[in-house]
Subunit: 316 residues, 3 copies
Amino acid sequence: MDLLEVLRLDELSHGLANLSMFPYFELSHYVVSIMALREQPGAVEVSRVSPLACWFSSMLFCFGGAVLSGIMLAEPPVAPLSNSTSVLLASVVWYLVFYCPMDLVYCCAALLPLRLVLSGMKEVTRTWKVLGGVTQAHNKYKDGLLVMIAVGWARGAGGGLISNFEQLVRGVWKPETNELLKMSYPTKITLIGAVLFALQQTHYLPVQKHHLMLIYTAFTVVNKSRMMLTGSSTSPFAAIESVIYKTLFSGSSPYAAITGEARETCADGGAKSRKTSTKESRANGAAEQQSPPSPVSGQSSSVETKEESENDKKTN
Amino acid sequence: MDLLEVLRLDELSHGLANLSMFPYFELSHYVVSIMALREQPGAVEVSRVSPLACWFSSMLFCFGGAVLSGIMLAEPPVAPLSNSTSVLLASVVWYLVFYCPMDLVYCCAALLPLRLVLSGMKEVTRTWKVLGGVTQAHNKYKDGLLVMIAVGWARGAGGGLISNFEQLVRGVWKPETNELLKMSYPTKITLIGAVLFALQQTHYLPVQKHHLMLIYTAFTVVNKSRMMLTGSSTSPFAAIESVIYKTLFSGSSPYAAITGEARETCADGGAKSRKTSTKESRANGAAEQQSPPSPVSGQSSSVETKEESENDKKTN
Amino acid sequence: MDLLEVLRLDELSHGLANLSMFPYFELSHYVVSIMALREQPGAVEVSRVSPLACWFSSMLFCFGGAVLSGIMLAEPPVAPLSNSTSVLLASVVWYLVFYCPMDLVYCCAALLPLRLVLSGMKEVTRTWKVLGGVTQAHNKYKDGLLVMIAVGWARGAGGGLISNFEQLVRGVWKPETNELLKMSYPTKITLIGAVLFALQQTHYLPVQKHHLMLIYTAFTVVNKSRMMLTGSSTSPFAAIESVIYKTLFSGSSPYAAITGEARETCADGGAKSRKTSTKESRANGAAEQQSPPSPVSGQSSSVETKEESENDKKTN
């Protein structure tokens, strides 16, 4: 019985690993990505003013990961354009989402049941993209674990990581926010996936690739569906993140007041280092007044608050 | 008689195709480009404060296309610097335009007859640059029609396409405008050229390369001269653009009011999609109040208006 | 006696040329770079809000040169990540500088004597980095003197040159300032080094490589120490720069008033060039009111003033 279950899971994982992303899963990815673009503030206006900028932005939403990983590995960032079929498919989706008469396509795809299915299918493509990035990096850097993680992450979450520059195409510039300063859920889950697949590739993780693909895909799809159905944006890693953060990165904050003084006394060098420490203690002073913010507790600094609602939306 | 005319045109097109760009046409390109930089607001001040930033900006105006197409094809963006003669020539022009005693060079080159000749010669280099980009891309991607168009366009209109980053060198940042949001005439004509040469290269356009070069060059030179002499900035494609725009991209706007409501009713999903549709309809509402702007009719959105006069200048 | 001295210097220069940068000198580079990051306004706050953005920023401070020179030569910009030992070392330094309990590490390293030694050692790594960049470019472009200078400069002063984008990682955006508009001392000395090593590589400078390494290293270390001890930020090249600037780049300014009028009269072309010259003379008018600023005399335009104090700090 137990063996049978194992065998069935094995079959299932093999079946999944041999699944072709083209055309249905890729199509879902394009639909969900371009709908996410359309829901950005100002995007509809841009689509009226400049269809070309809107198209370019859509392509960055769809192929941003391939562009970014291409740049990182010094491979042509225009390479995605050479796959005519994908670009054509994405362009048709772009046209229908933005310019369809009576807005039928957007209206239908925005219905919760359909959107749920499309989002689930889009999550499946994430596994393939992360794995593609890790493999691509592995071909160039055999032992470069960090390179594999970076490229896998970039390939899977490219659209988010280059969002500052994608926004620039649409004439929007929000330097005070980016995916590194405040990671959204898709970026986080992609990073975790990139770490797992890179560890598997370098045999640090004693698991077979198709098993890992099954587990990771199941987790992302289930979690995405849960988040869409409950409307919650709480990350499933909030607890772990909070522990890691408190253990590792709040080191000096309980002593901030002490070290602030300590630094004043220890910085007895030249005029320059005194100036520096004063500036430092002022910066720390500001940090103390607003209780030390944790990236997971929901308390966020002034840098973040104004972008919060929007990021929450992007998360879903 | 007819045959003779054909033969002469054939000879002419062969002569043009064998024309060497170096040094006279390239020189004209450098003079016109660096004069265009000098006419940017604030450029003269930058040339006094930091000659190096001014020089770097000038090189981006002169070699921006080669830099951008290099990045797109993962070839060294510093490659233009390896052609010492061209860089030296461009640097001499830069020096004379910005720092010549009594401003003699700028003053002379700004005289209409001379400027007309220089601009005409600069337009000739456009043909060579677009063709160079298309060929460069064709060598890497045999069937990549879109790649050829993109690289040809980047090579021919690079200075304009990277203008946001060129401005950044001079300490200017205007995220609300770029060549994709509101294309200037040179960018448009270069895109059309890139499409034509890419179609010719892939044999979709049944025309010989040197004939196309003659036709395209004649068109750009004549049109540029016309625009400079009449002082008009109306694009010769305004009518076609307007038709294309009205046919393809105003799909949902006549129904905006209806779909706005339709979306309200169809978005019966979770709380999230309701929130989204409300935001959407608000965005559309704003778009309705200001009558749907056409990129060619001269009515432009708030994003554009403040940059308009400047873009018009750049166009010329 | 003279021979002995020469021999000893020769031995010394050979010894220096064979010195291994790893681990002590590289470690100093990481410590000084990450401390410089920590002293940027807002950096400590970012380290609390997003350790990842802070880590990424630190890596750009440590490996920015390798990233930038990689991009310039179309080599993978992620390559530095493939050197696990260096990244691990830099990451440990990053952790200790930002999160060490009681801020012990930062406090100790900020003590003048230790900081002096570390900064001196960091200056030594500059020679190796500039030379590495020049050699890397020489392998691709045998005769590309300008490419060698550019890549050597980028490799040695990368962190400064990409500072706009490094700041963007931390949510800071200061487009009105960059290292080209107002060069800091390290950027200047690196540019001079790149020019010297490129001239040596192409045999225009009749000096042996190890001798040049000794002279350049000695100069940078001594000068850095002097600047730290006296707290002065005056560049040792101020006099030369001033002479060059006055000779070459203030050409048209004494005649600005005349040429302003001259242009009015000479611009008798179409309406367009008249408009242009008016704008020009206005720009010049503004430039006249504030006496022509020299980049070295300490008088700086409005673009610079607000960033000045900070740049001065960065210089040290």
